[in-house]
């Protein structure tokens, strides 16, 4: 089961879940991903130790996609 989560004031919120075979669930996840991007969130796929990838589209095969806020110099 793949998950789309958003880091927020609650720790994190699960926005969508899908499997590779479930087109409807994936379509809903894509909509959620797009909505979050419009709100200013950035999609990131953790690729294991030391690696992560910024994504502009929801990858169907990713196990976990995390929406994060932008960072800025303090």
């Amino acid at each position: 089961m793949s998950r789309l989560i958003r880091m927020d004031g609650t720790g994190h919120t699960t926005l969508a879940e899908w499997t590779a075979q479930d087109d409807a669930a994936f379509a809903a996840a894509v909509r959620e991903f797009s909505d979050q991007r419009e709100l200013g969130f950035i999609g990131t796929v953790p690729d294991g130790p030391g690696k992560a990838t910024h994504v502009r589209e929801l990858p169907r095969d990713a196990d976990l996609v995390i929406m994060r806020r932008p960072i800025a110099g303090g």
């Binding site: 910024h54 994060r68 806020r69 932008p70 960072i71 110099g73 303090g74």
Partner: protein, 209 residues
């Protein structure tokens, strides 16, 4: 799939922070430290040599030579001090997510010190809630970066996770977006850090050697 950090669009005027940039800034900071320290030492020694009764003024000059570098080191260490709301209700959830992103040793170090150790190409990073330290290869110099997630409501571990993910996406981009606050010897920064965090500097130096 994209590799460049999207936040770079907000700082288009900045030169990309790579190993060469870090070496240059390390040397500039070293020269700067000598420039504002040595004159005070010479002045103090000169006063003692010319007139021993001027010892109180000489001591004041020596104090300046000691205090000014300490203030800069304090500024560097401050980037990793805990800041903002603690959000105790959400923090355990955020800790769980951050823990999933870390290996066993890194998770243990974060639990003890509040800092996440991350190996990367520029060196070994220690990522905090609102800043990061970079111990460069050899472990003899640390660069301090002030950088934060733009959501003040996030629990502390989520703030760390934000910085960690951005760092993993594009290390040089992360260092470019961050504000460089200080560069110098790790021991100078370490002793100005909260006691709980100090072992993380030792771990980063050992990993960087």
């Amino acid at each position: 799939m994209e590799q460049a950090l999207p936040e770079l669009a907000s700082v288009p005027w900045r030169q990309r922070t790579d190993a060469r940039w870090l070496r240059r800034w390390g040397r500039i900071w070293q020269g700067w430290t000598l420039l504002y320290t040595v004159p005070f030492v010479i002045a103090g020694a000169g006063m003692l040599w010319l007139e021993p009764l001027a010892a109180p003024v000489a001591i004041a000059a020596f104090a300046h030579a000691w205090i000014i570098p300490e203030l800069y080191a304090f500024r560097g260490a401050s980037v990793v001090r805990p800041k903002g709301r603690r959000n105790p209700t959400a923090e355990p959830v955020a800790q769980g997510l951050l823990g999933d992103l870390l290996g066993h040793e890194e998770r243990d170090l974060h639990r003890r010190t509040g800092l996440v150790l991350e190996h990367a190409r520029l060196g070994v990073w220690l990522v905090g809630e609102a800043g990061a330290l970079l111990v460069t290869a050899g472990g003899r110099r640390v660069h301090c970066f002030c950088v934060r997630a733009t959501d003040a409501e996030l629990p502390p571990s989520d703030r760390v996770a934000h910085l960690l993910l951005a760092l993993r996406e594009d290390e040089e981009g992360f260092a470019t977006v961050a504000n460089h606050a200080f560069a110098g010897a790790p021991w100078r920064v370490r002793r100005r850090m909260p006691e709980r965090m100090r072992p993380a500097v030792g771990a980063a130096r050992a990993a960087a050697r």
